[in-house]
Subunit: 428 residues, 2 copies
C-alpha cells in the first residue's frame, strides 16, 4: 500500500487528541479499511507547549489554521477548534478554496453557515463531512444520508445534549434544585464557556437543524428552530413527572408538514421506562421515522474523546475510500428553503404554576383553561408554601396554540405567584 | 439528470414487491439522492401470473434469473429469491461474471459462500452488497463497515430473529407452552419452510457471522458458530426468568479473543428492563462495542416489506452514488481465517432440570455442581409434579466449560427426570 491520505488537524482539545491517539494506536487496521495509509502531516492549536499527553513529534506545527488548511502536504483538513465564526470558519473556507477535503465536528459552524459551505464544497469538488458534529459517536449522519436514503423521512427526534441530560438526571437523583446542579456541572467542566449553548438548548438545536437538512432536503435554517432551555425546570417538575410515570428530557423534534418545517428543541415529558426516558448522563439517542423503515433508534455516547474521534475517523476513512456525496445528501442547489412552521400537532401538556391561596382562584384558572380550549385530565394542588400553592395540571391532548392561550389566560387572572410553564408530553 | 441506474430484480416476494413499490412511490426523491434515475428494467419470479398487487407492466419479464442477471440493460442485479444454493447462487455468480453489481438480502447465501463471492466481486470490479440480509431495515452493515470503521471492534451482540422473539414473548404473554405458540406462529406464516432455520437459530446465526466478518476482518465461517435453538425453552423457564427480573432472548454474541473467534447464537437471560429485554415481536437490536466508541445500540424492524426493501434501496443508492468498498470492508485477500474458539468468559447461568422426589437427591445435585467448580447463587424447588420436582438454579459466574461438566454431573446422578438445560445470564 503506497498511497496515503494526509491529514492536517486544527484544534488539539479532547477530540483532536482523540483522533491522533486512534491513528497512532490502530494505524494498520485503519489503513486496511481505508485502502490507504492514514497519515497526519501537520497540526495546529493555540498553545504549542501545552502537555497533551500525546506524542506530536512526527507532525509539522502550524500556528495558523489557515496556513495549515492550505499546506501542500495536506489532503484533508480536520477542523476541531469549534466556534461558529472566527478561525474555524475562515480556515474551513480556506481549505475548500484550496481544494482540500474537510472533516469537522463543528455543529455551530454548520448550523449557521452549512448551506454556503456545502455549496462551496461542491463547486470545489471536495467532500465536506461532519459526522462528529451530531450525537458524538453515533453514526447518525451516515445512517440518515446513506443507510436510510430509500425513505421519505417523516420525523426525527433526539436527545442530543449530554450536559442537559446530566443536569436533569442529577436533579432527580439528588433532589437538589437546578441552580445547585448547574453549579456542580460547571465545576465538573461540563458547561460551555457560554452555558446557554448547553442549558438554553442551542447546542442540541445546532445538531437538530443539521439532521433536518438531510432528512427533508432543506437548507439549514437554525434561526427557524424553536428553542426552550431547561433553566425553568424545577425539582417539583421532575418529581411530579416521575410520580406520573414520566421523565423530563430536552427533546429535539423535526418534521415536515403541509405548513412547513417544524423544528423544536424543548424540555418534554417522556415515558419513564421508554428508551428515551431511560437515557442517563451523556448518552444520546436519535429516533428516525421513515415511510418504509418505520422507526429506527440509535443510541450511544454523545460526547467524549473516543466516541467523537471515532466519528471523525469514520469521515476520514470514507474520504480515503473515495466516498463522495453532497454534504447534505443532495446537491446544495436542490436543497429547498422550507418555511418555518409552528407545531399544530395536538399533545397532552404538563402545566405548572403557583396560585395565591384564596377562595375561587382555582375556579378562575379552570375557566381560563376551558376558554382556551384546553381540558384538564389531572390536577394536583401541592402543599401550601406560605400564601402560595403550587398547582400541577395535565391536559388532554390539545393544539400548542391553545396552550399558549391558556398560559396567557392563567397569567391574566392575576392570581399566580409564579410564571406558569408548560411542557409537552411526548408518548414515544 | 440523464444518467440512470438500471435494476433487474429477481424474486417478487415480500421484499421484491417492497422494492418496486418504493421506486414507484419515491422515484424523484430517490433519484435526487442517488444522482441518477433509478430504473427497473426487468424482473423475474417463479410465477408470471400471480397477482402481487403491484404494476409490473413497465418491466421486461424473465423466467430465468441467470438470464436476468446477464441482461445488457441491467446494471445492478437485485437477488431477492433466497436460498443458500440453487438459482440464487448461480444467478449471483452469473451477475458477477457479467460485471454487474449485486445487491442481495440473502443471508444464507453469504453465510455459506460469502468469502468466495466477495473475492469474485473484487476480481470483477463490482460491488456486492447485503444490507438487507442482516437485521432488516437497521443499517447495521453500513454502520459497522463505514461509520464505525475507526474502531477496533470488541464485541457484537444482537437479537436478530423476529420469529423467535415473537414465540418467546407470546409464551410469556399467554402462559402457553412452546408447542402451542410454535403452531400459532406456523399458522400465521411466520416460520420458514424449514422451521429450524428460525427456531434452531440458524437464520440469526447467518446474520451474526456476516457481522463477525466485517467486525474482525475474518472470512465468513458459519460452521464455526455455536448454535442452540429455542425449542427447549419451557414456559417454566420464562416464568422463572421473569420472577428473577430477566427475559429469555435468542441472543447472538461474537468476539475475538486470544484463542480465536467466538460466535454463539443461544437463548440467554437478559435483564427484563434492559433495551434487549424490552424488545417485542419482530423488532431487532444490534449492540456494537468498539475501543473508541464504547457501546452503540441500533434498534428497528428486523423484517417486513418496507424495512427490508429500505435496506435494499440503501445499497442501490450507494451504488448509484459510486460508493464502492470491499464486501466485508477490507479486500477479501486480507480477510483472515480465525480459529473458532469456545467462550471461556465466566457468566452466571440458569439451570433447570427435574428430580426424582426422594431424600438426598438435592444433595447429590449440589455435590455434582460443586465438583464441577460451579457454586450456587440461588436455588428454587418448584411444586412436585407427580413423583418429580422441577428445580431451578442460578449459579455464580463460572466458565462455560464448568457448566458443561455440571450438566454431565447432574445427568450422571441418575436422579433427573428431564434433561437438564443451562442458559447463560447476560447482564447488558
Amino acid at each position: 500500500m503506497t498511497k496515503s491520505l494526509r491529514l492536517g488537524i486544527a484544534g488539539l482539545g479532547t477530540v483532536g487528541v482523540g483522533v491522533i491517539k486512534i491513528i497512532q494506536k490502530n494505524l494498520d487496521l485503519l489503513s486496511a479499511r481505508a485502502g490507504k495509509v492514514i497519515e497526519i502531516t501537520a497540526v495546529c492549536a493555540k498553545s504549542r507547549t501545552k502537555d497533551r499527553n500525546v506524542n506530536l513529534s512526527g507532525y509539522a506545527w502550524e500556528d495558523d489554521s489557515i496556513k495549515l488548511a492550505r499546506r501542500n502536504d495536506v489532503d484533508v483538513y480536520v477542523e476541531l477548534m469549534g466556534g461558529e465564526d472566527g478561525p474555524a470558519k475562515a480556515s474551513v473556507e480556506a481549505a475548500i478554496a484550496a481544494g482540500k477535503h474537510v472533516v469537522t465536528a463543528n455543529k455551530a459552524l454548520l448550523a449557521h453557515h452549512g448551506h454556503v459551505l456545502a455549496s462551496a464544497a461542491e463547486v470545489a469538488g471536495i467532500s465536506l463531512r461532519f459526522e462528529a458534529a451530531v450525537a458524538g459517536g453515533i453514526p447518525i449522519i451516515k445512517a440518515l444520508t446513506e443507510g436510510l436514503a430509500g425513505n421519505k423521512i417523516e420525523r426525527i427526534m433526539g436527545v442530543m445534549n449530554g450536559t442537559c441530560n446530566y443536569i436533569l438526571t442529577r436533579m432527580e437523583d439528588s433532589g437538589l434544585p437546578y441552580s445547585e446542579i448547574f453549579e456542580e456541572a460547571n465545576q465538573l467542566g461540563f458547561l460551555e464557556a457560554d452555558p446557554n449553548l448547553d442549558v438554553g438548548g442551542v447546542d442540541a438545536a445546532h445538531k437538530l437543524v443539521l439532521l433536518s437538512s438531510i432528512a427533508f432536503g432543506t437548507q439549514v435554517n437554525f434561526s427557524a428552530a424553536q428553542l426552550q432551555g431547561i433553566g425553568e425546570i424545577s425539582i417539583d417538575d421532575i418529581t411530579a413527572a416521575k410520580g406520573m410515570g414520566y421523565r423530563i428530557k430536552l427533546l429535539g423534534l423535526s418534521q415536515m408538514t403541509d405548513k412547513g418545517l417544524e423544528q423544536s428543541m424543548q424540555p418534554c415529558l417522556v415515558p419513564y421506562n421508554s428508551p428515551l426516558g431511560q437515557l442517563e448522563g451523556g448518552t444520546n439517542m436519535v429516533v428516525v421515522e421513515g415511510d418504509n423503515i418505520g422507526q429506527i433508534v440509535l443510541r450511544g455516547a454523545g460526547a467524549g474523546e473516543g466516541p467523537t474521534a471515532s466519528a471523525v475517523m469514520g469521515d476520514v476513512i470514507d474520504i480515503a475510500r473515495g466516498i463522495s456525496i453532497p454534504t447534505f445528501g443532495i446537491p446544495a442547489a436542490q436543497l429547498t428553503k422550507a418555511p418555518a412552521a409552528q407545531s399544530t400537532t395536538p399533545s397532552a401538556y404538563y402545566i405548572r404554576t403557583s396560585l395565591r391561596d384564596a377562595p375561587g382562584v382555582l375556579a378562575d384558572i379552570a375557566r381560563g383553561l376551558g376558554n382556551s380550549g384546553v381540558s384538564i385530565d389531572r390536577l394536583r394542588q401541592q402543599n401550601h408554601e406560605g400564601a402560595s400553592a403550587p398547582i400541577l395540571i395535565v391536559t388532554h391532548p390539545t393544539e400548542p396554540s391553545n396552550i399558549d392561550k391558556a398560559l396567557s389566560a392563567i397569567a391574566a387572572t392575576g392570581e399566580t405567584t409564579s410564571e406558569p410553564i408548560a411542557l409537552k408530553i411526548v408518548e414515544v
